[in-house]
Amino acid sequence: MSDHTLTCANVYDARPATEVPAESPLAWSYQNTGRPSVSEKSRVVLRERAMLGHLILRGGAIVLDDAVRQVLGLQLPGRPNALSHDESGERSIQWLSPDEWLLIVPGGEEFELEQRLRDALGDARDTAVKNYAIVNVGGGQTLVELEGECVRELLMKSTPYDVHPDAFPVGKGVTTVFAKSNLILRRPTEDRWELVLRRSFADYLYRWLLDAGAEYAIGVEA
């Protein structure tokens, strides 16, 4: 038994050290359904950002905020449904519930990040009084970006959540109903929307997006 399993929490790097073929949750969809190409007619463009690092952070806002500032230099969004990014735009943290946040970072950073956060939150060997959780969920979800003039209408076909700019400004993210499934919907910039899909529903959601987006000549970037 490896050493750290003897501690309070089992933390480990899920990524292989060597080159091992990896498949995003949409791998099967690309093969089975295909990828309509992007053309000048495309009023919606879909792009998957596969293999990013996804961590769920659970705990009290005040406790976590310190650690997140220290490790990421980012403020923990305290307001419901808030989404913030670091300056590069590569790392984001999103409010999911009063004690739950989603961290998305470039693929490969997540293990080190988790360790640093755990270190900042207190010695992993002595957490009997520290109540928090960090969970790697990167294999279970993927991020999809949508851009184009008809994105908002495509979203309106799919979710009952109000995606009007007044109700959904940049820097917002919500978990909501999408078609007959659910996902996390975020708006990192004026023109770009992001969907965080669960792996097992990804194919359904992909087929839904292509179907709903056909009217706008949706294209999928390879």
């Binding site: 305290g78 307001r79 419901p80 449904n81 519930s97 009952p160 959540y161 659910n182």
Partner: protein, 119 residues
């Protein structure tokens, strides 16, 4: 379709994001092992089912996944308030227009909580 204010997400959301979970404030007997079959049966199955103001437990299943309570009129379906677990309703069958004295206190408490989140 209801439009429900989630007290945790602090905004109105569509009913499709929520699941109703029955009557609110059902207390589990504190010492189950010594309570009577009647008391246990009452806890499990017997409900108020009023025509009018009713307190119910809901969960923001597709959202923050938090449970919370709704005071709702079961005839008009008007939602009078939503409140967090552990809080008391302002609107009750006895006080359909709200409990006036507690109102201020409740609001102050809510504000205090918000401050806490901001910090």
């Amino acid at each position: 379709m209801f439009h429900i204010y989630c007290p945790y997400c602090e905004e109105l959301r569509e009913e499709e994001e929520f699941h109703p979970k029955g009557q609110a404030h059902i207390a589990r007997p504190t010492d189950p092992d010594t309570c009577s079959d009647e008391a246990w049966g009452d806890y499990l199955f017997f409900r108020d089912n009023p025509r009018g103001i009713h307190h119910e437990l809901w969960v923001h299943a597709v959202g923050c996944r938090k449970f919370f309570n709704i005071t709702r009129n079961t005839v008009s379906y008007e939602i009078l308030e939503t409140y967090k677990i552990g809080e008391e309703p302002r609107f009750t069958a006895e006080h359909p227009a709200g409990k006036p004295t507690e109102q201020a206190a409740a609001e102050a408490e809510a504000v205090a909580r918000q401050e806490g989140v901001k910090a």
